[in-house]
Amino acid sequence: MTSRDRRGFLQVTGGAAAAGLLGAGRAGAADARARVVLVRRREVLGTDGRVNGPVIHQMLNEAVAALLGEKDAAPAWRRVVKPSDVVGVKSNVWTPLPTPPALEQAIREELERAGVRPENVAVDDRGVRSSPVFQRMTALVNVRPMRTHAWSGLGTCLKNVIMFTDNPPDYHGDSCATLGAIWQKPPVAGKVRLNVLVMLTPQFHSVGPHSFAKELTWPYYGLLVGLQPVPVDATGARILQAKRRQHFGADRPISPSPHHIEIAGSRYGLGPSDPAQIDLVRLGLAEDALV
């Protein structure tokens, strides 16, 4: 790593934006401002609902560059990871609404383009605890779709790391209020470099045993990208709540309350949830942004 690379890398992992990630519990972490990028492209979804791989790859790169204030994506990615990193990409395989494989592939390609060796990158969800790459990971990229959830109110970036725990139901109490604690413990603590909340077709309400109906999703064509999980999830939650207001014609709070987001900021220092403390950078489609 060159001195410039090291300096740039530290701006990500040791800077104020990362205080909530690496310095969890640090006084004032929840008071710091955070940048979140919302990128939306209508052409990311075909008329058949399929994800356009090149478009979502471009959206990801635009977002990462804007997040880190770089003109191009390549230097931004080199600030996210260094060539010696072993990177786990924590995905989500929930059948009705999984992380799009095209997005997983785009992340993998950018990590490798940034110098990470192919054998040091793995994408996984349920198998993260047994994956050899995840077991020796030095960095984590966290990517999942946003949806309503029976226990936590919302399936968030914060919740996506629950598969690293010995017993996920241990975190289900009080509507998953203590999910933020997972981020303070090995193997997650200090390793999450990027959070990507997939908002292509978010799910704003649940019904039935499988918690899914296609009409409870809508094409939003977006990605939310940030360094800290709380401002990313809080922004996604605002969008879903706005959609619920629009759909139901009245305030119908997300149930159970997704208070794990605010608590992860205030108690565990994982970034601000107050929109007044979130610098939202908007790229692309502005129509019906709901935020």
Binding site: W94, W151, A177, V207, G208, P209, H210
Partner: protein, 286 residues
């Protein structure tokens, strides 16, 4: 009651007295394979991430069958759960219902392509992956056929009937016996302060009161000592001594209705509204 749409041949898949028989076809939708059966250990292989909801109501078995529709229509999935008691079947229905009422089983709802009903110890859903008028009819036909195959009926839990009706938002009435389910409807905070559980069932509802809305939770404890313990934990978490108190999201109050039955009010817009709802709860008690 079975409709003329229902096929004559039924699959003898039911291995338990309260599990229904799944028809081979209804309304133009046809099953390609026999029903799959799951138990309390294997349910997570089928219901991705939400099996705990059914375990919280004492699920013992689940039958699941997929039906393929005519060209241009999506599949319909029927899931039939055998719960521990009729009260549990009613409870999981109240937790799950969505949309408007439907005339299937003992009580049913239909919304977003999903029919849900309970009958006896069975809780059943039929879900159209692509909702169309024709699929809706088939969902209802499948539901009625399944309901007709269940001989057993059951009583609603008496505790649900103890909730006062005036001001109650009917769709908000939930019967439960697990703290996670209560948390999904009423934000009571950590550590199960009301002490609900398998031997301390609860019924809750959201009420329209002057100035807004409030939650009422009735908990039926095993004995007087358990009731006193639950009341003490609630008082510590939510009250000022034993008097109503204002918390972050509204006024809280509590009262004993009998030696085993306690009433708790949360999220009331005023002290008066909280006490008024408690008074209504007392009026509903014998």
């Amino acid at each position: 009651m079975a409709t003329p749409l229902v096929g004559a041949i039924m699959v003898a898949a039911a291995l338990s007295a309260s599990l229904p028989v799944m028809p081979d076809e209804a309304g133009g939708w046809t099953a390609a394979a026999p029903a799959d059966r799951y138990d309390a250990q294997t349910i997570f292989q089928y219901i991705d991430g939400h099996g705990e909801v059914y375990l919280a109501y004492g699920m013992t078995a689940c039958l699941a069958r997929r039906y393929a529709g005519p060209a241009g229509e999506g599949d319909i999935v029927v899931d039939a759960f055998e719960m521990a008691t009729p009260a549990d079947a009613y409870g999981v229905f109240t937790h799950t219902r969505e949309g408007g009422p439907a005339d299937v089983g003992q009580e049913a709802s239909y919304g977003y392509g999903t029919l849900a009903f309970w009958k006896g110890r069975a809780f059943v859903t039929a879900y159209a992956e692509q909702e169309t008028p024709r699929a809706r009819e088939a969902v209802l036909a499948l539901g009625r056929a399944v309901a007709a195959s269940i001989a057993e009926t059951g009583e609603r839990p008496a505790l649900a009937g103890r909730l006062p009706r005036a001001g109650l938002e009917e769709a908000s009435l939930v019967y439960l016996r697990h703290p996670r389910i209560l948390e999904a409807h009423v934000p009571v905070g950590p550590d199960n302060p009301l002490g609900v559980g398998p031997v301390a069932p609860a019924a809750t509802g959201r009420y329209r009161v002057e100035g807004g809305a409030a939650d009422l939770v009735l908990v039926e404890y095993r004995d007087a000592a358990a009731a006193e313990g639950g009341a003490a934990r609630f008082a510590q978490a939510f009250l000022d001594g034993d008097r109503p108190a204002h918390r972050d999201d509204g006024w809280c109050a509590a009262a004993g209705l009998t030696d085993r039955l306690r009433a708790y009010v949360l999220r009331a817009p005023s002290r008066e509204a909280a006490l008024g709802l408690l008074a209504a709860a007392k009026g509903g008690a014998p």
